[in-house]
Subunit: 264 residues, 2 copies
């Protein structure tokens, strides 16, 4: 499943053929978010392997500023889903993980006042640590044929989520991850992406960017997926950047302050 | 190179044997930071494949809030290295990339005032987007036998780095990545990691954590690597959490504000 060839993956992503000599990267090029899971379990020792992959990722100065919390109890899973916009894949996935930015360990180690932990630098460091750990875990899971869906909605109700996960000061639930075997009839599609010439700049930032080509490819994708396509991708994306769209995530700042992260 | 077996990788990481039934994850479990690169070039089309891997990672709401800038000009590479603590792997690597948190595209798409782009939520979203893209690229590179080193020091002088990369408002160079073929005599070691029982919590956060076992394993690692080991890992880590250790990274907050990211 989800084993498109290099040529198919490239065509799907960029609407073009790969350059001669492009490396075969297999499943690493064919990621899609899976939201339809089978009920087949994923054994504990498989997950231990995936956690080992997560812990194999780089971590800034070996500080390991992250934790992961698995939520498997059925009633708790329902509650977790409710806090995350009630997305059905959170219910259905064999495993659900909350990834946590974790300065709590470092706080407990500090002999002097750990006054840098509230800084923007330490926040950024820990978000990067958590994200690259999660993504190596995702690559490992996909190499086994598993599917995943990141859950940004873990930040929808940050204070309630912290209470639900019993998080100490210095921690923050940054995103979730639903993981399991894709359902047999799962039709999750690989999405087209911005052209490499838009994302990849040479020597310095290229200020001349034109989304026209991508808007056209996304319009074709919306049509194929029977999605309403009255606006272009760039219009749709631009609309996301206004405050009313933030919902509970507008409260991240006061929540982080309450956790000792002033981001000064 | 760097192709330890599952048993070797697990022993190295956790000082123990893997559970029965752990999946074979190959190179995904044997990451280490490579700082000694050979002078062998990495072809452009290989990098195109790696960028395609990066773009295959999930991205929140398909907003693709990141960019990557390759710095290949030799004089510019020297300047980049100087801004990043003059680390020799930045000079020596076949490729050097700056990963960029990128709200600039979204700014240009917005019909109304994009007043959410300065929020903590949008900052977090973009840091996660950039980090998981980079890590999928890293997994792809390592699957080909390439080595990498993340460069957190890209944040050492955020304003100067922004000028060097000609970054527009709404962007931020979040970390670098040095990438190339490991030198033949590269002896980069896989580091031990915190036990899974410390990182992986069940149902809710486990407040009872004990670094003793890890401190002992790290002490053995320091000795093996001929590193001064007069303090434990937890003491060493705790010392990092004080403001004088932040250096130029203490300026992230005012720099981000100047880029339109107030993180409110």
């Amino acid at each position: 499943m989800f084993d498109e060839s290099l040529e198919e993956a490239w065509l799907r992503k960029y609407g073009a053929a790969p350059p001669n000599g492009s490396p075969e990267l297999g499943r690493l090029l064919t990621h899609r978010s899976v939201r339809d899971f089978s009920s087949e379990p994923v054994p504990e020792e498989t997950v231990a392997g995936l956690i080992a992959a997560a812990q194999s990722a780089s971590t800034s100065s070996n500080l390991q500023l992250w934790s992961v919390i698995s939520v498997q109890d059925s009633a708790r899973r329902t509650e977790a889903a409710k806090l995350c916009g009630d997305q059905k894949q959170i219910h259905d996935a064999a495993w659900f993980f909350a990834f946590v930015v974790d300065h709590a360990r470092l706080r407990s180690f500090a002999a002097e006042e750990p006054d840098a932990l509230g800084s923007n630098e330490f926040f950024t460091m820990a978000v990067v640590d958590a994200a690259i750990a999660a993504e190596r875990m995702v690559c490992a899971a996909e190499s086994l044929g598993l599917g995943v869906c990141y859950i940004g909605a873990l930040r929808n109700h940050p204070a309630e989520m912290a209470e639900f996960l019993n998080l100490p000061a210095g921690t923050f639930g940054v995103f979730g991850l639903a993981l399991g075997w894709p359902a047999e009839d799962c039709t999750a599609a690989m999405k087209p992406r911005l052209g490499q010439e838009v994302i990849w700049h040479r020597e310095s930032y290229n200020h001349e960017q034109d989304p026209t080509d991508y808007n056209q490819r996304m319009a074709a994708f919306y049509e194929e997926q029977h999605m309403r396509a009255s606006v272009t991708w760039s219009m749709r994306s631009g609309r996301r950047a206004t405050k009313p769209k933030l919902g509970g995530r507008a409260d991240l700042k006061p929540f982080l302050e309450s956790q000792g992260m002033d981001l000064e």
